[in-house]
């Protein structure tokens, strides 16, 4: 996000609320009533009347209570995969599949290296065929831009195929 945002990447905190209270396991720390979680975001000004906001949250399942927040009204999502911690990504992939939100999965190439074969990753995370799976470098502006373009492509083709009725709501329309 820092590599493409116009502003210095900002971080805010979400406070756990009653809604989320069930998600965070409080049993080990009974004195604890709030949890703070960082949420990153950045901005790209498309034109004077249109801004693209990028929101980033941790991907582990226990932070899932934040995902609804950033996904509501989003054009699409990008699940960034660290192949050293594949297990952590499964929940996020599953989430997007179920929410029926346009998304792509991007394997981050740390130090330009990808440790797994893409087919293996697709299999391990159970990513369905139509979902793009790409390799990118989160530090490279161009690479991040291209990854976002992949997501937008998915969103666009989905919007086009849903043509009649611009307000297609949350209806599930799987191919």
């Amino acid at each position: 996000m820092g590599s493409i945002s116009e502003i210095r990447p900002l971080t805010t905190e979400a406070v756990i609320t009653e809604v989320a209270a069930g998600v965070d396991d409080l049993t080990h720390t009974p004195a604890k009533t709030t949890t703070t979680v960082a949420m990153d975001f950045g901005v790209i000004t498309i034109d004077p009347t249109l801004k693209l906001y990028l929101f980033g949250t941790p991907g582990q399942e226990r932070f899932g209570f934040m995902w609804d927040d950033v996904v509501e009204g989003a054009l699409g999502g990008l699940v960034i995969v660290d192949t050293r911690r594949l297990d952590d990504c499964y929940a996020a992939v599953d989430y997007f599949e179920h929410k029926d939100i346009p998304f792509a999965v991007a394997v981050n190439a740390f130090d330009g290296e990808v440790q797994h074969d893409l087919d293996e990753v697709r299999w391990a995370l159970d990513i369905s065929d139509p979902v793009p799976l790409i390799v990118f470098d989160a530090r490279e502006t161009g690479s991040v831009r291209d990854a976002l373009l992949v997501v937008l492509d998915v969103a666009l083709s989905r919007a086009e195929s849903a043509q009649p009725g611009p307000i297609a709501g949350g209806g599930v329309q799987r191919p």
């Binding site: 905190e13 004195a31 960082a38 906001y53 991907g59 927040d69 054009l75 831009r145 373009l149």
Partner: protein, 241 residues
């Protein structure tokens, strides 16, 4: 209920009783019913449009230090020792560019708040009423009323209205002002009710609006990469090394 003075919820000091009990030698703590949030005001010009853009290093001197002696530590219920260390950043997806960057980027969460977030909202959380919480990308902008009332506003409310001279998202506001997202949501709703802030809830229909999507795609394509070149084709996605 008989019509009367509306109870000013915001100023009902949460836990004021507790702190009075803690400091019996200072009865004024309970009497003057201070803003519950009442951090000592940092010396900072009122009109400053973007109060927190400066890096940590030139922060006003130790607002935290000023707060603590006043006898308003976190309320009794939260004696937790773990409150003071800065909340640790959860391991997050890779985005932090490691060493190459110039020095260490300022840690945005370095300062642990002496005032607990829910004190700023008098215990309210967003979305607890009838309405769902404001979406993170909701645009907020100060109204003329809000700007003219700026001097009468205090602390976070003033900061929010001042920062909203330019429209921005709730999330952006929270990050710039170093406030919790959900605190900003609650306060923005309050300020909107008071007519001091205009809140533009996003139109979810745009997600399916093809023309918007095309504009975003075209706009993104115009973003040059680090070497200044534009995307040539879809095929270039594989790591170019």
């Amino acid at each position: 209920m008989v019509a009367g003075e509306p109870v000013p919820r915001e100023t009902a000091p949460h836990g004021a009783g507790d702190s009075a009990r803690d400091a019996p030698g200072r009865p004024e703590a309970a009497d003057q019913s201070p803003e519950p949030t009442g951090p000592a005001e940092p010396a900072e010009p009122v009109e400053q449009p973007e109060p927190v853009e400066q890096p940590e290093s030139i922060e006003p001197p130790e607002p935290v230090g000023q707060r603590e002696p006043v006898g308003r530590p976190a309320p009794d219920k939260h004696p937790a020792p773990e409150e003071h260390p800065a909340p640790e950043k959860p391991s997050e997806p890779v985005e932090q560019p490691p060493p190459a960057r110039q020095s260490a980027p300022p840690e945005p969460m370095g300062r642990a708040p002496a005032v607990r977030p829910f004190l700023l909202t008098a215990g309210r959380v967003s979305g607890s009423g009838a309405a769902p919480p404001l979406p993170v990308e909701t645009q907020v902008v100060a109204t003329p009323d809000g700007l003219s009332a700026l001097r009468s506003l205090t602390f976070e409310r003033r900061d929010i209205v001042a920062a909203c001279r330019r429209p921005q998202s709730v999330a952006e506001l929270a990050a710039r002002l170093r406030l919790h997202l959900n605190v900003v949501r609650v306060l923005a709703e309050d300020l909107c009710t008071a007519g001091q802030l205009a809140v533009h809830v996003p139109d979810t229909g745009t997600v399916h609006d093809i023309s918007v999507l095309r504009r975003v795609i075209d706009g993104l394509r115009a973003v040059p990469d680090s070497r200044g070149s534009l995307p040539d084709s879809r095929g270039s996605l594989r790591d170019s090394g």
